[in-house]
């Protein structure tokens, strides 16, 4: 008996785990390629990354209806994880396309960047597919360590170093919380397997043991840090600002989706017995997150910081679905994470194109007059801003609609009212770039915009997706629903 078969992994399971294989192999190849310091190393790395991600996507797609428990039930292939794998793969591909020209422009063109993107995507996949707290921890670490390096990738820039250090120190702290939480939950339930924890709690007469409650709380803190809920959001603006813009795009979309993927699975499979008691706490955190994120975003003049605070606010919106729970809530979370990734990647993608050569521009004011001088860029930015603001007929609106609907169905009326009022506040700052682009004239030197074919293609796809997912939302909401129903009873 081979050791693999012993842990429940036969040759027949290879296809279903193709995403993991493809990304692992791709990252190895890239690292080998990067040992050569030739000029072709970076483009080849980018190509390899694209190929690996594409193969991973195809592999996930081919097995999208399957459910398998592998490696002693530590790793699940099921529609839920497949949904997220496809989201992560899409995020990865778009990030690579956006980075292609950006890295060259900003003299960062080292192939290792792509290796880190691929490794981080791999960690995200582990987080979404894990059915075991240890596995979630491993995925989280793999994702985070790669992201820390990505944040500090501009090693000769002060802000980038600050971003990496801050992200790393606070992140390490949060991971410590998570690990301690895992330990306590293990102590309370005797297992780290999510399904078994859930089963134990259903059968157990005493659920509110301090050990379990504190453990679950620490777990939550770990996730809250990764998805940047208030008060665990402090790292977000600095990390987003300092990191290279395309790395910011990648981590803002991917880390958030992965964090929520893990959180949702833990909440729905392992700890559903606890969630009712938590509603009040989570409601408070959601309201706080939305309000702090949105109000602070108004004050920002740096686009990257503004988007960072807006991403905090979006985490608050997603919490609505988590709080609502049930199939409807989980469906809303999945849909929202997917469309949020599309729009946020797009917004950061536009920012990454601002400025010529290594001269990066990130201030809102610098967009002045750009709407008419660069009509396509202007339209793209407008669409992403409106999408993030949740104006129909974009996908952002459908996402908010689903979240609000699930929360209202759960009877959280006050929470929904806070959320809608918050989304009005958000409109104010999302309109600002549009105002500046179309309604003001530049003072002094006008903004120059870099043109890059891969990034343009990626942005065009994202614009179309923002509308497509908003108007013909049936396919994605349906897929989200199926994924949820297949996993959560």
């Amino acid at each position: 008996v081979s050791p693999l078969a012993e842990v429940g992994y036969g040759p027949g399971d290879f296809g279903a785990t193709l995403p993991v294989w493809a990304l692992s192999i791709a990252s190895m190849i890239i690292l080998l390629v990067c040992m050569s310091r030739r000029r072709w190393a970076a483009p080849v790395s980018a190509g390899t990354a694209l190929l690996g991600l594409a193969v991973a996507g195809v592999g996930a797609w081919a097995h999208r209806f399957e459910t398998r428990a592998l490696f002693n039930d530590m790793y699940r292939v099921d529609p839920y994880s497949t949904f997220f794998v496809l989201v992560f793969v899409a995020i990865g591909i778009v990030s690579v396309l956006l980075s292609w020209d950006y890295l060259e422009r900003t003299n960062l063109n080292h192939g290792e960047f792509y290796a880190l993107v691929v490794l981080s995507a791999l960690g995200m996949i582990f987080m979404a597919a894990a059915n075991d707290l240890i596995m979630i921890f491993l995925g989280l670490e793999l994702m985070s360590l790669a992201l820390y390096v990505l944040a500090g990738f501009r090693k000769n820039r002060f802000e980038s170093n600050e971003a990496a250090l801050k992200y790393f120190l606070l992140g390490a702290f949060a991971t410590g919380f998570l690990l301690y939480g895992v330990a306590l939950v293990y102590g309370a339930t005797g297992t780290t397997n999510l399904s078994k924890i859930g089963g134990f709690l259903v059968a157990s007469p005493v659920r509110d043991t301090p050990l379990l409650v504190i453990g679950a709380l620490l777990l939550f803190v770990g996730f809250a840090f990764k998805v940047s809920l208030v008060p665990f959001h402090m790292w977000t603006p600095d990390a987003y600002e300092g990191a290279p813009t395309t790395a910011t795009a990648f981590m803002s979309a991917g880390a958030k989706a992965a964090g929520f993927a893990g959180l949702l699975r833990v909440a729905m499979i392992a700890l559903p017995e606890l969630t009712p008691d938590w509603t009040r706490l989570l409601t408070g955190i959601a309201i706080l997150t939305m309000t702090v994120g949105n109000v602070t975003a108004i004050l920002q003049s740096n686009l990257k910081r503004m988007l960072a605070y807006s991403s905090i606010a979006h985490a608050g919106y997603v919490m609505l679905g988590v709080i609502a729970g049930g199939a409807g809530g989980a469906q809303a979370v999945l849909y929202y994470l997917a469309v949020y990734s599309v729009m946020n990647l797009g917004a950061f993608g536009v920012v990454s194109l601002m400025g010529k050569g290594s001269d990066e521009r990130v201030r809102v004011q610098e967009l002045a007059g750009a709407g008419f001088r660069y009509p396509w860029l202007g339209i793209a930015m407008t669409v992403f801003m409106l999408g993030l603001a949740g104006i129909p007929p974009t996908a952002g609106f459908m996402g908010k609609l689903l979240l609000f609907r699930s929360a209202l169905e759960g009877g959280h009326v006050m929470l929904v009212i806070f959320a809608v009022l918050n989304s009005v506040v958000a409109v104010y700052y999302y309109l600002r770039p549009i105002v500046v682009m179309y309604m003001t004239q530049p003072e002094g030197e006008a903004l120059e915009v870099s043109s890059a074919l891969p990034a343009a293609v990626a942005l065009a796809v994202l614009v179309i997706a923002t509308f497509w997912l908003g108007t013909a939302s049936g396919s994605l909401t349906g897929a989200a629903m199926q994924s949820v129903l297949a996993v959560f009873p």
Partner: protein, 441 residues
């Protein structure tokens, strides 16, 4: 719908020479706006309605913000935020309604016809009606939510002002008639005094503020606030006269205010100012313009023989029947509107030409004449022979009023019955429940 398409065409015709920059984008946005407006009026599904309602904001926002005047950015953002606040709360109400309907019938639907059948508890009605009413009241706009309107009107380009006045504001009143009142009849009845009071304050206040405006466009904007107060009053008179007057008044307001904005646009293009004090004696310089202006102005003060008279008369007639006090107060608005309009007209058109800059102005061009001709025709036609229009709207009004009344009674009955069941009394037959205490027919 007809009003919308007709006025869009007229607005486009009217902006040929005013808009000189970024022409393609401008027309694209105008058409997008028209799509939104048509969609809003035709939607029979609440979510579709909401989507169009919101989608319409964006083109209007850009129209004001890009092609507007000095303070355009502030105006555009204010317009957007005001409308958003109202509409997101309406969205919450829409979703709540959806769940209420599900709780009763077991089916999920946003279809308006099905939702008309839902029995909504009185307490919930109050909140849901408030949420809808807030969205629509901001759009109408009713006092005290009107402050975005003058700013938006003044800063918007002419075509934008015309469409804003003629169509966008109507969406608010339309929303009341189509959604808020039939869906939540009891709450509508209960809140009638509040809304009538606000409407009358709007009428009088709008007129008084209009009187002291130095800027022509602002004057017209405040007169809009006043006129729409009449629409709201007529609507909440809750009788067929009031409703048909209200609908006719919406139509009239679209025509006459639209025409007024176009007229202001005409002289603004020539002189680049809208201050009343800058003009004077235009009759001698622009005879054709002045004649058109006179007719439109008279229609706006509701002189008999013009369209305005029929509408206001019907509104007041309806209001007298049910809300006598408010009707009397509102009637003073008619006098006030005569005051500010005639005074403004006198200062702009009569007298000697005091400002030499006005001497060389050109009269209406054939294109401009073509713009105004259909509007004048409508003013007289609706003023002298409104019957064809009235008979068109009569049946649908009757139907909706019946719907409102029947639903109000049905829901009261249903409430009383469920209250009895809750109290442990089994109502033996529907008649018993209807005469239970607290049930008024």
């Amino acid at each position: 719908v007809l009003l919308t398409t007709a006025l869009t065409a007229i607005a486009i015709l009217g902006s040929f020479s005013a808009v000189t920059q970024r022409v393609r984008a401008y027309y694209m946005l105008l058409l997008a706006l028209e799509t939104g407006m048509l969609g809003t009026f035709m939607a029979l599904d609440l979510v579709v309605f909401y989507v169009f309602w919101e989608a319409m904001l964006m083109p209007m926002y850009l129209l004001i913000g890009v092609w507007g005047g000095q303070e355009r950015i502030r105006a555009a953002v204010k317009f957007f935020l005001y409308t958003m606040v109202g509409s997101v709360l309406m969205l919450v109400a829409i979703i709540s309604l959806y769940f209420l309907h599900h709780a009763q019938t077991g089916t999920y639907t946003f279809d308006l016809a099905a939702l008309y059948q839902t029995n909504i508890p009185l307490g919930a009605q109050f909140w849901l009606f408030s949420a809808f009413a807030l969205a629509f009241a901001i759009k109408v706009p009713m006092f005290p939510f009107h402050t975005w309107l003058p700013l938006a009107h003044v800063e918007a380009p002419t075509a934008g002002s015309v469409l804003l006045a003629a169509v966008l504001l109507k969406m608010g009143t339309y929303g009341f008639l189509r959604f808020a009142m039939p869906l939540f009849p009891n709450a509508a009845f209960a809140l009638t005094p509040v809304i009538c009071a606000l409407a009358v304050i709007g009428i009088v206040y709008g007129a008084l503020v209009a009187m002291v405006q130095p800027d022509l466009k602002k004057l017209v904007a405040y007169s809009s606030v006043s006129h729409l107060g009449f629409c709201m009053l007529g609507m909440f008179a809750m009788n067929p006269e009031g409703w048909s007057g209200s609908i006719l008044q919406m139509l009239n307001h679209g025509i006459s205010t639209g025409a007024l904005f176009l007229l202001v646009g005409v002289i603004y293009e020539r002189r680049h100012t809208r201050l009343i004090s800058e003009f004077g004696g235009l009759w001698k310089v622009l005879p054709a313009f002045s004649v058109v202006f006179l007719v439109v102005m008279l229609s706006s003060i509701a002189l008999p023989g013009t369209n305005g008279f029929v509408g206001e008369f019907l509104v007041l007639l309806g209001a007298f029947k049910t809300q006598r006090l408010w009707a009397i107060l509102a009637a003073t608005g008619v006098i006030l509107s005569a005051c500010y309009m005639l005074w403004m007209f006198q200062r702009v058109v009569f007298g000697a030409v005091t400002n030499s800059a006005n001497e060389g102005m050109k009269d209406l061009t054939p294109r401009e004449a073509l713009v105004f001709a259909p509007l004048l025709l409508l003013i007289f036609w609706l003023g002298i022979f409104p019957q064809p229009v009235l008979s068109r709207i009569q049946p649908s009004i009757q139907e909706t009023i019946d719907l409102v009344n029947n639903r109000a009674v049905a829901i009261r009955t249903w409430e009383a019955r469920s209250a009895m069941i809750d109290a442990g009394i089994q109502p033996c037959c529907p008649d018993k429940a209807e005469i239970a205490p607290g049930v008024a027919k």
